[in-house]
Symmetry: C2
Subunit: 215 residues, 2 copies
C-alpha cells in the first residue's frame, strides 16, 4: 500500500541515515540512486532500504531506482525535517559545552537556544553563543524560545529533578546523557544515551572473544 500507515520504529531510526546518505548527491542535479547504493551509503542492506522506503510510499521507479532529490524531499517530509525544534541544554559541564558548541545540530534544525546550570559562576555567562541561566529559569526559557527538546547533561543526581522541571515546563521530548532511569508521564518521550553502557557492551564482546579465542 502507500504512505498513510504507521511507520515502524526500526524504520524511523534508519530514515535519518538514508537522509545522510543522500547528502552524497548534489542538490539540483538530477540523479538516481538504487536501493543498493543507498544501502551502502547508510550501512544497511538493500532489502531493508526498499522495505523501509515502501512505508513512506512508492517513490521509486522499477528498473531505474529512486530520484535522489525527490527521495530526499519525501524522507524529509516524513521526518518533519522542515521544522525547527529549539533545544535547551541542562547542565553546561564538559558534555553540555561540547553539545552547545556543536554546529551539526543547528544545521539539522536543532538550534541550542539556551542552557541552564546550577553553578553560580556560570549563570549569566554566554558560552559559545549560548546564554546560561539558572535552573529556576527553565519554565521561562521554554516559553520564550518555544523549546521543543530538552537535553539533560547534569550529573546523575540532578537528572530526575531536571526532567521533572522540563516536563512541568511543557517539554515532551528529552534526550538524557545521565546514567539513571528517568520517570515521566507516558506522553513524554525520553531517549537515554548511555555511553558507559555502550562501552560495557563492547567490553562484553571483547570478554567473550578473549575467553573463546585463546588465553
Amino acid at each position: 500500500m502507500a504512505s498513510p500507515g504507521r511507520i515502524p520504529e526500526a524504520t524511523v531510526a534508519r530514515l535519518p541515515l538514508y537522509l545522510r546518505g543522500l547528502d552524497a548527491f548534489p542538490v539540483g542535479v538530477t540523479a538516481t540512486v538504487s536501493s543498493d547504493e543507498l544501502a551502502d551509503l547508510a550501512g544497511v542492506n538493500a532489502a531493508k532500504v526498499r522495505k523501509d522506503l515502501s512505508h513512506l510510499g512508492t517513490y521509486g521507479t522499477r528498473g531505474v531506482g529512486y530520484d535522489a532529490t525527490f527521495l530526499r524531499f519525501q524522507i524529509s517530509l516524513a521526518l518533519g525535517v522542515a521544522n525547527v525544534w529549539p533545544v535547551v541544554v541542562c547542565g553546561m559541564g564538559n558534555l553540555g559545552r561540547a553539545l552547545a558548541n556543536h554546529t551539526g545540530f543547528t544545521d539539522r534544525g536543532f538550534p541550542v537556544v539556551a542552557a541552564t546550570d546550577s553553578d553560580p559562576d556560570k549563570i549569566g555567562t554566554i558560552v559559545d553563543g549560548v546564554p546560561v541561566h539558572a535552573p529556576s529559569q527553565l519554565g521561562d526559557i521554554v516559553r520564550r524560545f518555544d523549546v521543543a527538546i530538552g537535553v539533560i547533561s547534569t550529573p546523575a543526581g540532578a537528572a530526575q529533578g531536571t526532567a521533572d522541571a522540563l516536563v512541568a515546563a511543557g517539554v515532551t521530548s528529552i534526550m538524557s546523557f545521565a546514567p539513571t532511569v528517568l520517570s515521566a508521564p507516558d506522553e513524554v518521550e525520553i531517549r537515554s544515551v548511555d555511553l558507559a553502557t555502550e562501552l560495557q557492551i563492547l567490553g562484553f564482546h571483547l570478554h567473550r572473544s578473549r575467553i573463546a579465542g585463546d588465553s
Copy 2:
C-alpha cells in the same frame, strides 16, 4: 536451562542497566531484590528482568528474590567487568575532551590512556591528564598501552581513516561519534553513537504528534 548458552543481544544491552540498578544496594550488606524492584531500578518490566537473568543461570530464590550482592557478582562476571579495557580517544576536540575528562569511564574499567589529534598545537600537550599524540603514533599507543577500544571523535571526514588506522593497529572494538558509516572487517565491532539521529527521531515524533494533535 543454565549459564552456558549464547546470551541474546537485547539482554546484553540491558545487563549494564541491571548492574547500575544494583548500585542502589550497599555492598557487604545482604539484601534481596525482587525482579519487580530491579525492573523499576533499570526502567524495564519484571518479566524481562527474569527472562534476562535466566540466560545467565538460575541465581534467584523462588518466593524470595535475588541476593543483591551475588547477582551483582554474576552479572559482572558475565559482562567481564573485572577486566580493564584501555581506551584511546581519537580526535581531541569538544567531544573528545569531554570524554577524556569523564571520570565515569575509568570508574567502570575503561580508562582513557591516550588521545590522538591532528592539530599540531594539541600534539604533545596533556589534556586532563591524557597525553595527546599525533595520529601517526596510533599503532605505538595501542601496543604500548594494550588499547582495547578506540573512540572516534574526529570530524566525519577523518573518521574512516581513523577507523582504518585503529584496525591496522589491532583494535577490534570501536565507538564512533562521527556521523558516517564506517567500514571495517567483520570481526571488528563498531558501535555508532549518532546524536543528531537521536534528535531527528525525537523530531519525528514531535512532528507526528503536532500533525495529529492540532495545528
